[in-house]
Every structure is written in C-alpha cells, then in structure tokens.
C-alpha cells in the first residue's frame, strides 16, 4: 500500500512492521513525530508492545538495553543532544552485543541552539560499535529499519538509522508500506540466545580483567566484519521480497565519471540533480552516495572510485582541526590504493541548504586545480 508520509512516520511504520516489542523514547525536535505515531499505534493495540515514556534519552537507551537483554526487540529514536546524552550507553549496547535499532534524525549540535540538520551528532558516535546507515528517501528509511533488525539480530550488534532533519524527517514522500505478511516472512521473531533467563541464570557485563577483555573486543570487531557480509547478502534477498535494492554505497553515473562527488544523506539527491545538469553540459561528473558508515565498506568504496580522476567529498560535518569526517573515512580507504587527488568541502552545516549551485561552485573550483591546495574548503560561508 502506498501512502504519502513524512520521514519520521516512515520510521514509525518501519518499527511497527518490524513488530518491535519495547519502545523507550524521549522527545526532541526533529524526532517527535516518530514516537508520537508509535505511541498512538501501541495505544490503539495495532502493535503488541510496551512503550516506556522515559525521563531522558539516557534512560531510553538504558531501558532498551534492559529490554533487549531480556529478549525483546527494542527500539528508540532521537537526535543530536539526545544522542550525545546516550553516548555512554551506546558503547554499552554494542559492548553487550544487543541488536537494538535506533533512528537518529541528524540535527546539528549546540551551542548555539539549533534544530536543523547536519551529521556531526551521529558521526561523532562513530566508534561506539553501532552500525550506521544513512538514508536519502523516506522509502529507504522505512525499509532500512526492517533490514536493520535482520542484520542486527544475525550479528548481535546495534544499528542506527540516520536521516536528515526536516529535509527528510519532515518532508512528505510517497512510500510503499509493505504487507505485514511479507515482513513477517522476511524478518523472523527475535529469539535471543543469551537472554536473561531465570531457568538458566547468567551474569552479563561483569568485571573483566585484562586476561579476557580483548577477547570480547575482537569478537565485536569480527561481528562488524560479518555485518558487512550480511548487509551485502541481504540486499538481493530484500530486493526479491520487496523489490528495492540497498547496498553499502549507492553510485550514480560513476563508471565513466572523471570527477566523483561523494556525499551522504539528502545532499546526495541534490548532487544527482547537479550531476544531470553538468552531464548535459558535457562534464563527466558522477555521485557516490555513502550509505553505510559502519561497518565501513572498503572494497565498495575503492571499486566505485577506481576510475575517477578527481574525488570531491562534501561533508555536512566537521572534525574541528582536521577534515570532514566522511573525508577521513574515504581517504583512509583509498590510501595505498589510489593516487587520485581528493578535495574536501564542508557545506550545509546547521541546516544551511545545499543547492545544485553549491555543487556547481564546488565543481568550478575543482576544475581550476590539479590537486587540493588546502586541507579543506568551506562552502558559502560569510566572512
């Protein structure tokens, strides 16, 4: 069934179709509609779940950790300050190997107070052990929530579904809501082997000496490597059931492109419009949309960028005193595999729009240079 809906509601429908069993959430703009709709769905008994209206995001994640440990499919959603408040427990969820799924609506970090999009909130949680999947359409958001549980429960690592504030969260698009029966077939019920069980009591997360700590960590890393395999494996399976294909990266006209714009989130759809225009002018430009940040798809990135003569990474985020965060990621994947110059642009922070013109200006600047003469370039900032 097709329905026109906002990105936030696509998350709620995704979670409902995934038959989540415990939801614990705290309101923050621009996430609120996710939980508003879910609380209505639960109250109407259209979903058999417990909704815990916690008093903070820290408690939201704590409740998800408790619920998941007890064997329930757990879900939450947040943004920016809320995500940052959860930080300690993001490590905990991953370290405890719990397949929790959370949606994070990208919102720039304060101060100064803001509610508009950029990716610094989720990207600064890069090393917590969560998979991160960046979406560009409401359909992808809904589908990704369902897929996320499949992968998470196979490898026992949590997943963050990430989408831009407003340009996706509050933007209405036509979304196909898959049949519940199809979803049930695709995503079996959560059967957690290590659940808290009074008939088989175990202690989880207790004090661990240097004799054993590293062994827990290598298992997490291996699980993340396996997650990459599972994401690749799920793509055709999902396509077969639902007719839509999602890979780790999403290339657009990159095969013969001399210049590839690397972007993520909704900035990619604008990039594609720009690519079309530039192609009409005879410029061989392409776009590579980064979808999965963790586990990082090294091979796919190298493969997609192997023909490029120039690579431009447009970051809607910044690691102060360094590069944009996607630039660091992509450059490190290319190191030793490619000699191609990589340009890094910082654009669209705090929800400033990224227009097609933004990309035209970027391309015009790069055309004049053989290689970058600055570590990074700021786009359209007032001096």
């Amino acid at each position: 069934m097709k329905k026109v809906m906002m990105g936030n509601h696509a998350i709620s429908y995704g979670a409902t179709l995934a038959r989540v069993q415990v939801i614990a959430a705290y309101p923050i703009t621009p996430q609120t509609q996710v939980v508003e709709l879910l609380s209505e769905i639960v109250a109407d008994q259209k979903l058999k779940a417990e909704f815990i209206k916690v008093e903070s995001e820290h408690s939201a994640m704590a409740a998800c950790i408790g619920a998941s440990s007890a064997g329930a499919r757990a879900f939450t959603a947040t943004s920016a300050q809320g995500l940052a408040l959860m930080h300690e427990l993001l490590h905990w969820a991953a370290g405890a190997r719990l397949p929790i799924v959370m949606a994070n609506i990208n919102r720039a970090m304060a101060p100064p107070w803001t509610i508009w999009t950029d990716q610094n909130d989720s990207l600064s949680q890069r090393d917590t052990g969560w998979m991160q999947i960046y979406c560009q359409s409401n359909q992808e958001v809904l589908d990704s929530v369902i897929m996320a549980y499949k992968v998470a429960e196979k490898v026992l690592m949590p997943v963050m579904i990430v989408l831009d504030a407003f340009s996706l969260s509050h933007t209405y698009e036509s979304v196909d809501i898959p049949d519940q029966a199809l979803v049930d077939k695709y995503l079996p019920a959560f059967d957690y082997k290590y659940k808290l069980d009074v008939k088989n009591p175990h202690t989880y997360g207790g004090l661990t000496t240097p004799d054993w700590y590293m062994e827990f960590r290598i298992k997490m890393h291996e699980a993340m490597e396996q997650a990459l395999v599972e994401i690749k494996k799920e793509a055709p399976v999902f396509q077969k059931v639902f007719g839509r294909f999602y890979d780790t990266v999403d290339p657009y006209m990159v095969d013969d492109a001399e210049t590839v714009l690397v972007t993520s989130g909704t900035a990619a759809s604008t990039a594609r419009f720009a690519v079309d225009q530039l192609r009409a002018e005879g410029k061989k430009v392409g776009n590579l949309r980064m979808r999965v940040l963790r586990p990082f798809p090294f091979a796919d990135v190298r493969q997609q960028l192997k023909n490029a003569k120039k690579i431009i990474i447009v970051d809607r985020d910044i690691s102060y005193g360094y590069h944009g965060i996607w630039a660091q990621e992509v450059k490190s994947a290319l190191y030793g595999h490619s000699q191609v110059p990589v340009f890094n642009f910082i654009a669209g922070l705090g929800g400033r729009d990224i227009f097609p013109e933004t990309y035209y200006n970027i391309i015009a600047l790069v055309e004049k240079k053989d290689k970058p003469d600055q570590e990074l370039y700021w786009v359209e900032v007032k001096k």
Binding site: A24, V54, H58, S59, G66, S69, A70, L196, G206, L207
Partner: protein, 292 residues
Amino acid sequence: MKPTLPLEELMSPGHLACQGCGAGIAMRTTLKALGQDTIFTFPACCWTVIDGPFPYSCLEVPLLHMAFEATAATASGIKAAMDTLGKGKTTICGWAGDGGTFDIGLQALSGAAERNDDIFYFCYDNEAYMNTGIQRSGATPYGAWTTTTPVKHFKKEVKKSIDDIVAAHKVPYQATASVAYPEDLYKKLIKAKDIRGFKFIHIIAPCPPGWKAKPEDTVKLARLAVQTGVFPVYEVESGKYLQTIKTAKRKPVLEYLKLQGRFKHLKEDDVTDVQKLVDLRYAELEKRFQGC
C-alpha cells in the same frame, strides 16, 4: 529451634565482599525472600565487584551489569520486555548503592517511580562511594570523614532524605531496613512482592573499611543505627507509615558513633549537633508513625 528464614541460599560463598560487608548480608537476605524467579540489574558499585570477576558470579539468578546512573531505567526495560514476552510474574530488581541512588541515579529512579513501573528498587546504603575509595555521597551523614571530606573539613551537609524524595512520588510501597533485622526485611519483601507498582527498599548496610569499623561490629552497628534513631526502620504502604522496629527508648547516638573511625574526630559539641539532627529527623518521622 525453628529457623526464622528459609535455609535455601541463592548467594554462594566465594563472593568478593570484604569481611563484615553489610551489602553482602543485604543481598543474601533479599534473595531468600524473592527466590529464584528474580532478575537483577546492578550499576557500578561495590556489588559490581562482590559478585565476582568474569566468568564467575556468586548469584544464582540472572544479573545484568549496567552503567552507574541507569539502574531504574534498565529495570523498567527488563520489566517491559518480560511483560510483552508473557513472563510478567518474574520479579525485576534494580540493586544500587547510595551513590547510584541518591546522586547519579536519582533522575532514573524518579522517572521509574513516577511512572510507577512494576519493579523493585533496592538501595544498599553504606553512606559513601565505597567502590572508588570512600568519597562522600549525598547519603553520607553530617560529621563523617570520607576521602573527599577530610577530618579537618568533615561533612557539614546532612544526609539527603531519599525516602522522603521517593515518598513524594506516592509509590505504592517503600520501606527502610537494616541488615541487623533480616526477619524484618524478609517480611517486608514477601509482602511487597505481591504489590504491583514501584517498590523502594532502602537498607542500611555498614561497610567496615569505609566506616573504619571492625568487621565483627557490622550487625551491632546496623542495630545501633536503628536503636539510636539514626536510621529508623519502617514501611510506607499507600502513604501510611508504620514503624516496624520500635525504638521507644532511643540510645544516645554516641554509642553508634564511637564504634566508627569515620566519626573519631568529632568533639563533644559536634556529637551534640549530630544528636540534635537525629532527634529532629526522628521527631518528624514519629509524627508520621503516629499518623498525625
């Protein structure tokens, strides 16, 4: 002689508590009342260590270790899961120290209490951050030495009234208890187990190294805490107060203080101040016990 408590043990020997640890006695008694169909979550606290290092555990019930400030919310999450999974009969417990309850975990505690989530929240109170080396907490009493309230600048603030804070949430059941009166604690838990909603149990649990007391004095101290009125033992059921261990003639606090090195520096005047504080608090509670 008929034993006053079940002989069955769900806490095995070989745990890592210090000699005379009140927190150990508190857990042992609690498990006797709650039984096997119980799940615990612990934050960071002495019990993180007492339970034993990976892969050991001295408890024969499932246990989820959790972050320091997250006890109540974690227990709420476990409870919600058990309810959706059709295992609503299992008793879900958060078990935290005073620091994890009075201070860093207060927000989550308040949240779960206000929602009236159907869980037990236990606070074993040794009146300081013992796990990190005896720093003051909001539960440390007036006059006490800790490593962050050194003798020259002993603690000048009074102990936070956590029980009143919880009472303000109008929870269906709350109680204080002392490890010197295991039968009292046992009885309270047996009753509370059948009460739906939030249950708060606050247990005074002497800590020999933290209180600079003799391990063999733990039970004596826990008893004196009650007999002096330093730690009155009572329950509150639907707002109704009942003193379960009566202390008609209270002993002077000095008897309690003098067994503990953490109060050694107190001069006569200071002891008088402590006595006044205790009297004041006791009088306040006494009115509630009498239903005034």
